[in-house]
Symmetry: C2
Subunit: 404 residues, 2 copies
């Protein structure tokens, strides 16, 4: 029997208990031994809940119990999660977490502590919820130089953008519906401004390139400025607008950003809709791959956490090597990256076209019926050159990058 | 330094050499030691090829060399691959293979031999080429009861069906183009009749359910009967026709089959086009996931093989448990499975409709402009009931299952 302690009995924590109870037999078989939840740590009481009997309020109880081999940290936030995780590792316990804040801020330190104590720090659920992506990056795509990781990593924003496209709603209505359905929080800033996706792409990029990508270095723009009209133009171009969190290698530079992008119909990310997430990975040998699934939600996220528990159980007394060094990876300046851009201007006619072409060179025009606007797509140009030209443009409305 | 021997210097074998040479530094770092190809076994000579210096013709040379820790079997076919693999395992060498014939026919025996000798038998490249799917099934989706695996597992047939839909070609023209481009073999039977996909779904199902699914038990129908007109109807229904290799759990029964299916626009498999492959996996906790990528091709397949080499190198002296028992899994009779069917009849009018409704009950009609035919979609019915009714239908042309 392998004893597990769950820190935090919120959505994911109760999901972990549910997954282990529902699939007890399968999980024990795969783990090679019975997985037993010995403690649940939470400050609250849960009278009448079956978990009541194993509820503890003091972390020391768990820490001191040497029979607990695996600690599941699903509290969220950097502290006290970090202190608790470090203490567990220091006592020779494995730690499995769904906490992207913790991993994005403290990943290398925790991995180092895990290695020193010959245990494991596993975090499959921190990116992409139930989608297996961390383990494939660490254990499967090991023969490749990773050229690009681009993900739809936030279900809330993808739901909003999908609803805007399918129901022709504006942003506010789509956000309100997402909140009513429980897909968006009352304070939705972390999702809609891209902060959540930013932390996740920082984690995935650190694993892909082997050095620490600091999420604070990643240019991040959310979806709150995306309008119904932008989406009309996207449809006309046979594209979808998606919040893309991306890092890519160009020669010796690595660029990373989070921003709404126009994704062409032919790209596998185009048809990732609603609350689903996907991670597109391009390697120099394997070519294009994509991993798709539920990026959030109680049971999918808990499934990923319990998958880590099984992995920890299979590797008791043995550290699984993870290629993520403490050394910081310096991202290239986004202004040097080359992109194509879609631009909207609130005027129409020969003078407008002349001005556009004098600034951007040859462009492709996109017109919507009955709209007194000019939409156009630039050729490939650096962000710096684009911004210089865009600044000088009259009556500009918006600009959106194309996903390469 | 970890010495590797490659058995077979064909497409995949030369790809393995190329991947290791191209990404030497990354691969050695991930493996924790330098990966060195010490021998290549082939009956042929390769004058002028760099591999010439390490080419051997006698397998005994490799077998007797205790410094060779990993044997890469990429010859194809059951024999002599099986004998060679068993001998390698018996001598304490790890075996990595891309050979679906070998794995589908001899998987449990090879896994047993690997366990007894405390080494590993790895076969990521045997299903879905470069797509990481074997390791995610074995190591990531371990908290779930797998309810369904449905894959587009053959690039040749998917290319043909995509071309038929995009270019409005008939089957023969699409097949000929696939052959001219090297996507289909001169004798394309194994691909177009579904035999290749059948072996792959047998392997994936064995891993998912933990017991041996014999590919000979799986009902298998290829795509050679699919016509341009079928595809016109599919488009009208907002569906694509895909060769789906599928196994699914319904209560205590497991059904498996390979057959062309109508896949709705909303399903993630719908937009998997051209030579790309994808595996859709549904778990009782994680929900819907999908793994997408190049299902064949020299470098993607070699990338997966070398990923296994890295995994073997990381686990020298340690057997990775694989849940695949020798015990045979008895598949449920396909005639008891419930499906919806699309049917074409070469007649039109009230009498035809009356006959159809008397046989199938309430149906949904699909008409194409200017075609003297009746197309209809049945409700959910068992294969047995459907076949009884279909047999009694006059002027029937074809029937295609809907993907549930």
């Amino acid at each position: 029997m392998i004893n597990v302690a769950v820190l935090g009995y919120g959505t994911v924590g109760s999901g972990v208990v549910e997954v282990i109870n529902t699939n007890r037999e399968i999980i024990s078989k795969k783990a090679g031994d019975e997985i037993n939840i010995k403690y649940v740590l939470d400050l609250r009481e849960f009278p009448g809940d079956p978990v009541e009997k194993i509820l503890v309020h003091d972390y020391e109880t768990i820490l001191k119990d040497d029979s607990v081999k695996i600690v599941v940290e699903v509290m969220g936030g950097v502290e006290p999660a970090f202190t608790f995780a470090m203490k567990a590792l220091g006592r020779g316990k494995n730690v499995c977490t769904s906490n992207k804040e913790l991993v994005a801020n403290k990943g290398p330190e925790l991995l180092k502590a895990a290695k020193e104590n010959n245990v494991n720090f596993l975090f499959e659920a921190s990116c992409g919820g139930g989608i297996p992506i961390i383990r494939p990056l660490n254990s499967s795509l090991t023969a490749d130089e990773i050229l690009e990781i681009s993900g739809i990593l936030n279900g809330t924003t993808n739901y909003i953008l999908t609803q805007m496209a399918d129901c022709e709603w504006d942003f506010d209505k789509a956000l309100k519906t997402a909140q009513d359905k429980g897909y968006a929080e009352r304070n939705p800033e972390a999702d809609i401004e891209g902060y959540d996706a930013c932390r996740k792409i920082a984690i995935l990029s650190s694993l892909a390139y082997g050095k620490t990508v600091d999420y604070r270095d990643i240019y991040t723009e959310g979806i709150s400025a995306v309008t119904s009209m932008d989406i009309e133009y996207a449809k006309k171009m046979e594209c979808a607008i998606k919040l893309i969190a991306s890092s890519r290698r160009e020669k010796d530079n690595i660029y990373a950003l989070v921003t709404p992008m126009l994704v062409k119909k032919e790209h596998p990310l185009y048809s990732v809709n609603g609350v689903f997430n996907a991670v597109f990975v391009k390697g120099n040998m394997v070519g294009e791959t994509m991993f798709y699934g539920s990026g959030a939600g109680k049971l999918p996220t808990a499934s990923a956490v319990v998958g880590d528990v099984v992995d920890a159980a299979r590797h008791l007394g043995e550290h699984i090597e993870v290629s993520w060094e403490d050394e910081k990876l310096t991202l290239a300046e986004e202004e040097n990256s080359e992109n194509r851009y879609f631009v909207r201007v609130g005027a129409k006619g020969d003078d407008t076209d002349k001005k556009i072409e004098s600034l951007f060179g040859s462009v492709e025009y996109i017109f919507l019926d009955g709209i007194k606007e000019t939409g156009f797509v630039t050729g490939n140009m650096t962000e710096k050159k684009f911004n210089e030209a865009y600044d000088r443009l009259d009556e500009k409305i918006t600009r959106i990058r194309f996903k390469a």
